[in-house]
């Protein structure tokens, strides 16, 4: 049980990596990238957890808190992630405009012509 969270992180990461490498559709690739990214979020947040601790908001009654630092890193990473994801999606829209397709192999074939 000690490493269960980390195993799940690896399973999710590999699923994301598989989608990015094996799928031809660009939107699907981005969804895979999103899964990979969330796996890293889960890794950081799992590392921050202290069993028996509480959320890092000071109260009189609590003495044991989970680590606030990874929370900060991941909180900002989520919002930065959506902004950069939007940029990637914008590029997908433009690629569709230029090639009429968002399938990786079709784009490669058409750019060779």
């Amino acid at each position: 049980m000690d490493f269960f969270n980390y195993w799940v992180v690896i399973a999710l990461m590999m699923t994301g990596l598989y989608i990015v490498m094996a799928q031809q559709n660009l939107v699907k690739k981005l969804l895979g990238l999103n899964i990979f990214q969330t796996a890293i979020f889960i890794l950081y947040i799992s590392v921050a957890k202290v069993l028996g601790g509480t959320a890092p908001i000071y109260t009189e009654s609590a003495t044991l808190y989970s680590n606030p630092l990874p929370h900060v890193l991941i909180l900002t990473a989520i919002v930065v992630g959506i902004a950069t994801m939007a940029l990637a999606l914008a590029l997908v829209v433009r690629i569709h405009g230029a090639y009429g397709s968002i399938e990786d192999d079709e784009i490669r074939d058409r750019s060779k012509q």
Binding site: V8, L12, M14, L17, Q24, L69, I78, V79
Partner: protein, 334 residues
């Protein structure tokens, strides 16, 4: 403790199942819906891990804005994947299996989950937990670290969001031929959906009010500029979807949003410069007021405001850019 661990296992297994389903389903519309579920599941998991601020953000981004943007793109590029002609799946599958196995092996070297004395809980974490309630004077340590101890880092993050938004606007709207007026999407698209419109009308003011609460209560409970900005943007985007883009633009026109996106970054930077002028370091808030703790309060309030303004207007601006592009070329599938 047992309940927490059981929930932990259930949520994580559900996450894996959702991820595998995303990999297998060919209908992109279904995968986008699945990734919304994925976002909500991971937000629930974050609550379980005591990361309430992160859960807030993930719920509104992962289950809210991300699927919306994806749907806007799908309406433009089509709903179904093409059947892949090239057969590369098997070697790639083996490769991921191998690298997964190597990583699994590496986890046995890691300190056990949830320990009090693991390396991650040493060093600065102790200082943040023990000293920040007195030093910064606010109970939420995540806000203290985000806005004050690591304020420089957060400034960088806000700049990245700002830059990415400029990128989206330039990539999507930068190529319009001058003189060719863009036709706005029909505002009456959603006119038939009376229930949606009425429920939306009731919900939107509450969403916006809640965003303001999250913004200004971030010192004392979970919340802050990032979360509030995203929630506020969700309210405006919901309005734009239900009542049409041109109505939404009457409330928040594009030029205003562009200004606001830059204004937020400027507020943040100016607080840093104010610290310099008052004789301290860049982004040192202690010198902003007569005593250090109220200086910290003032500084955090201002920079959280800057973050909130930039994040909210960036998200709305990105949504505008996508819906203008995907609807004005007449290729919207309905």
């Amino acid at each position: 403790m047992i309940v927490t661990q059981a929930l932990d296992v259930v949520l994580l297994l559900l996450l894996v199942m959702t991820a595998v389903a995303i990999a297998r389903v060919k209908d992109l519309f279904a995968t986008v819906m699945l990734s919304g579920i994925y976002g909500l599941l991971s937000a629930s998991f974050f609550v379980l891990m005591d990361a309430v601020d992160v859960a807030f953000t993930e719920a509104s981004v992962g289950a809210g804005i991300f699927p919306l943007l994806m749907l806007a793109v799908l309406s433009f590029v089509g709903r179904y994947e093409a059947d892949s002609k090239r057969r590369v799946a098997l070697p790639v599958f083996l490769l991921t299996l191998v690298s997964g196995a190597v990583l699994l092996l590496a986890t046995t070297q890691m300190p056990a989950f949830g320990g009090e004395d693991t390396p991650a809980q040493q060093h600065v974490a102790v200082r943040y937990i023990e000293d920040s309630p007195q030093e910064i004077g606010i109970p939420n340590m995540v806000t203290s670290v985000l806005a004050s101890y690591r304020g420089f880092d957060t400034l960088g993050e806000v700049l990245v969001i700002f830059t990415a938004t400029i990128g989206v606007v330039v990539v999507l709207l930068g190529v319009v031929q001058p003189g060719k007026a863009r036709s706005l999407p029909a505002d009456e698209d959603m006119a038939d959906h009376k229930v949606l419109r009425i429920v939306g009308k009731m919900l939107i003011p509450l969403i916006l009010l809640f965003a303001l609460y999250v913004q200004f209560h971030g010192d004392y409970g979970p919340g802050g500029g990032f979360q509030a900005g995203v929630i506020f943007a969700t309210g405006i985007i919901l309005y734009a979807m239900l009542f049409g883009l041109s109505n939404a633009q009457r409330v928040l026109p594009m030029p205003l949003l562009r200004g606001l996106t830059a204004l937020g970054v400027m507020i943040y930077g100016s607080v840093g410069v104010a610290g310099l002028l008052a004789g301290g370091n860049f982004l040192d808030y202690s010198v902003l007021a007569s005593d250090p703790v109220s200086g910290q309060h003032l500084g955090i309030l201002l920079i959280e405001l800057g973050v909130g303004v930039t994040v909210a207007s960036s998200m709305v601006l990105i949504f505008y850019a996508f819906s203008l592009t995907t609807s004005s070329d007449g290729s919207v599938e309905r």
